[in-house]
């Protein structure tokens, strides 16, 4: 069906593109790619009537049914908006890219990434299953990483891509944790089922953590303050990518998530303040910073940040209606959500157009620096008109769609003051105030875009290429977008009823749809209009006096920007972790042994002492003879002498003495086989030591300080004591009979009278077999070790 097709088609195409690219050398491969979004867009539009009628489409395919992970698609009003944006803007962007990117670029990569991205985005908006949503979510991060790093020979591209990936994936992981928490609460991964279980979910103790984690994902993706820093750097991508990712898709994923999850989380105070508050701060911070930018794309990036903040805060304000439940009063707040959805579309249109406009300027002039631009109006009239329409819409001026949604935004911020929950009375006034200031800055930077690029003096000597109008193909897509910008202004209610209404239904499932649809009137008079007029007046004044107050930005030292903090955190953690790692992983085996022994004593002895398990009952010991004392004494003597001996031969002989004494103990303890083996093995070991001494140096005195010696001795004694104490306790642990009594019947069972040997040769012959293998490996290993020597002079590639 359509939804599966919508997700699959881009992926299939992405997989095919690299292979057919080689056959398509002559024709721009983009034409082929263009078919994908166009087809999808047209099919999706045919579904609009059914969606308006309240139909939804779901389909489930099993993925990992054992763990409740299934691929469930869900098409409703909300996903419709986003899917239309993705495919619609996608078509235009691909059309634009055909003219923007020459065939010399590695187009197969480009379109492959782009299609992956498109498919992933569609997957995000069509998934009903949280895990699948997460999967596509991460895929958007990955594919956007690839798109941003498309010109990976540029250092800035790589850095931007890395930042984008790091931040969005971090958010994604947090989101995953949030989803898992939701699953723990509700026992389902399906969003629809979650919405159905809202009651249970909100009661749960983990509700707020889950919410915050999910929001982290949304905020990072949508470049909300303070995670917005990746977005300006991501402008290193080719302009079509910026136009696509940062106007209509990638950054809207976070918005989508907030919208989608608001039936679950909305209505909680934390959600309201987090979404609305972060949104409004982002709005202000983005617009404020956009003004200071000299790079047109960076300016647009900050403007995107700010506009996303606007949409986000609208969703936050709108979530108040969830708290109130369905009532006439709460319908006042649903209008905020309606405005959010409306602005979402509007923003995509004008921002898409503006990005393409900047791309054209960049492409035809060779620079995006507004200090070098100016006076292009006459040379690039079409581009100029796109810029004017886009900017005016962005600034919120009539007769463009931005005006309408901006007005609705103002209305919403004012309306929210009537709310009497969420302790709105203390901070509520900040909303309209900040919104108004932000809009002033928005006006200013919109003016900058037009004014600095197209008015003023032309500086041909500072441009890379002689400026001229762009090819028609590059102009068509932005023209279509600005046409939509104007069109929506005049017929907003077409959009409102057919597209926005069903989406409202998805966000407020318990509300009657009709009541949710706001009748947008282009011509109106209210507080918001007054605010807009104020914005225009102050904005014009500020734009005029910009050079004078630009110095304000100098107050914000470069050292203390968020970017600088990000870099510093990364740098700090890399250097400090390096310092720390090298501190303890210093390559010195002695240290490693110390760590191991300290941990051993700490944990084992620590537990042993704390659990009070120590028991010792010497009375149960067997008798002891004098000569055994002497033997014990000899062993202790030899062991201690081993510590102080200076010659290696003596040391080895002392070790031999220990071994022989052990063998003698084996004799005393009635273990003839052991005694024999130990005797021979000990002799052979000693002989091996002597053999190897030909190649080894004599012992040298270790010049170590008294303190080191003391600490080593302490560790050793502690280790010895631990072993002893546990051993003493174990000695008299008499809860069980040994299984070995069974073996005493060895003659009847295995036909041998030597029990030890029958165990070795029959009962546990498997051990013996492997032991022989071990011996063999050691022998063979020694042989290779000696025979295989590194060739001298040969430079080794391994290191």
């Amino acid at each position: 069906m359509i939804v599966e097709l919508a997700i699959l088609l881009p992926f299939i195409m992405a997989a095919v593109i690299p292979f057919i690219y080689r056959r398509f050398k002559k024709v721009h491969i983009g034409w082929l790619v263009l078919a994908v979004p166009v087809v999808l867009f047209s099919i999706l539009t045919t579904y609009i009537p059914r969606i308006v009628n309240g139909q939804t489409f779901t389909k489930t395919y099993e993925w990992i049914p054992s763990f409740n992970i299934s691929f469930t698609t869900y098409l409703d009003g909300l996903s419709m908006i986003f899917s239309l944006l993705i495919t619609g803007v996608g078509s235009l962007v691909i059309l634009y890219s055909i003219f923007y990117l020459s065939t010399k670029e590695s187009l197969h990569h480009f379109y492959c990434y782009l299609l992956l991205f498109m498919g992933a985005m569609l997957g995000v908006v069509f998934s009903d299953h949280l895990m699948v949503l997460y999967a596509f979510w991460e895929l958007t991060s990955v594919s956007s990483f690839l798109l941003i790093a498309f010109w990976h020979h540029r250092k800035a591209s790589r850095a931007g891509a890395r930042k984008a990936m790091t931040i969005t994936v971090t958010g994604g992981v947090a989101m995953l944790a949030g989803f898992l928490t939701l699953y723990t609460i509700a026992g389902t991964f399906s969003i629809r089922e979650l919405i159905a279980d809202v009651g249970i979910i909100q009661e749960h103790a983990l509700f707020i953590p889950a919410m915050i984690l999910v929001l982290l994902g949304a905020f990072t993706k949508s470049a909300q303050f303070p995670f917005h820093i990746w977005l300006p750097d991501a402008m290193e991508a080719p302009t079509p990518v910026s136009a696509y990712l940062h106007s209509a898709t990638m950054v809207k994923a976070g918005i989508y998530l907030v919208a989608r999850m608001s039936p679950v989380f909305g209505g909680h105070e934390v959600w309201f303040w987090a979404v609305a508050g972060v949104g409004i701060i982002t709005l202000f911070w983005g617009s404020f910073n956009a003004v200071r930018q000299f790079d047109l794309k960076a300016l647009l990036a900050y403007s995107t940040v700010s506009q996303l903040g606007l949409i986000m805060s609208l969703f936050g304000l709108g979530s108040a209606a969830h708290a109130l439940g369905y009532s006439q009063e709460s319908l006042l707040y649903t209008q905020a959500t309606f405005a959010a959805l409306f602005h979402l579309i509007n923003h995509s249109t004008f921002k898409g157009a503006l990005f393409m406009m900047v791309g054209i300027v960049d492409h035809e002039v060779g620079t995006r620096d507004i200090r070098r631009l100016g006076g292009l109006m006459a040379l690039m009239p079409f581009t100029f008109s796109i810029a004017v329409i886009g900017s005016m819409s962005m600034a919120g001026l009539p007769p463009f769609n931005g005006f309408l949604s901006k007005e609705m935004f103002f209305t919403a911020t004012v309306d929210i003051l009537t709310l009497n929950i969420f302790s709105i009375e203390s901070f509520g006034l900040l909303f309209p105030v900040i919104a108004w200031f932000a809009s002033v800055f928005t006006f200013v930077y919109s003016a900058i875009i037009v004014g600095r690029t197209f008015f003023g003096k032309l500086q041909p000597e500072r441009l890379e290429k002689p400026p001229h109008e762009a090819p028609i193909g590059m102009l068509i897509p932005p023209f279509i977008l600005v046409a939509v910008v104007v069109g929506i202004f005049f017929f907003p209610n077409v959009l409102g009823r057919n597209i926005l209404g069903p989406a409202m239904k998805s966000i407020y499932p318990s509300f009657p749809t009709k009541e949710l649809i706001v009748d947008i009137s282009p011509w109106h008079f209210n507080t918001a209009l007054l605010m807009t007029i104020g914005v225009i007046i102050v904005g014009v004044l500020l734009y005029r006096s910009l050079p004078k107050w630009r110095a304000v930005y100098q107050l914000f030292s470069q050292k203390y920007t968020l970017n600088a903090y990000y870099e510093r955190i990364i740098g700090f953690s890399e250097s400090k972790s390096g310092w720390f790692t090298r501190l303890y992983m210093n390559g010195n085996l002695t240290y490693y042994f110390i760590y191991i022994y300290v941990i051993f004593v700490g944990i084992v002895a620590g537990y042993f002492v704390l659990s009070d398990a120590f028991v010792w009952s010497p009375a149960k010991d067997s008798a002891i003879e004098y000569y055994e004392f002497i033997l014990l004494f000899i062993m202790v003597f030899a062991a201690v002498a081993l510590l102080f001996t200076k010659g290696r031969i003596t040391a080895v002989l002392l070790n031999g003495v220990l071994g022989y004494s052990v063998a003698f103990f084996f004799v005393i303890f009635r273990a003839p086989d052991l005694a024999l083996t130990q005797l021979v093995v000990e002799s052979v070991t000693t002989a091996l030591f002597l053999l190897c001494f030909k190649f080894l140096p004599d012992l040298t005195k270790e010049n170590i300080s008294r303190a080191v010696k003391f600490s080593k001795a302490t560790i050793s004694i502690l280790v010895g004591a631990t072993v002893t104490l546990i051993g003493l306790t174990v000695l008299h642990y008499e809860k069980f009979m040994p299984i070995s009594t069974y073996f005493e019947d060895s003659y009847n069972l295995a036909g041998g009278k030597n029990i030890v040997n029958t165990i070795l040769g029959d009962f546990r012959a498997f051990d013996t077999m492997l032991e022989v293998v071990v011996l063999f490996i050691a022998g063979l290993g020694i042989y290779t070790l000696i025979k295989l020597k590194a060739k001298k002079g040969e430079t080794d590639i391994e290191n």
Partner: protein, 112 residues
């Protein structure tokens, strides 16, 4: 007797640990050798000492001392022999190529 042997094992382990914590290769290897002695004694001891006769059916009619630990020790002795031999050769090859047997000079973590 058992307690004494366990204490002896503790002493041996302490000595072995001290040797293992020293910087020269030979001492460390000697430490592992001493440690293996200690371990073998320990296995035998916890299995019970002098609780019966030599585990040979032809020599007595029982009760016999626990034969299973003996079998385990035999396996362990062989393995420790194999390992010690290998370590020794490795040590002298290392000394031959690196020219020092002092671990504090053999730092060179791979992160160079």
């Amino acid at each position: 007797m058992e307690s004494l042997i366990v204490i002896l094992v503790g002493i041996l382990v302490a000595v072995a640990t001290y040797l293992i914590l020293s910087r020269t290769v030979i001492r460390v290897i000697l430490g592992t050798a001493v440690l293996s002695h200690a371990v073998h004694l320990l296995i035998l001891t916890v299995g019970g000492l002098k609780k019966g006769d030599v585990p040979l059916l032809s020599q007595s009619d029982g009760p016999y001392t626990d034969a299973l630990p003996q079998a385990l020790i035999l396996t362990a002795i062989v393995i420790s022999f194999a390992v010690t031999a290998f370590v020794l050769v490795l040590a002298y090859r290392m000394y031959g190529t690196n020219g020092t047997d002092d671990f504090s000079k053999l730092g060179g973590s791979s992160d160079e």
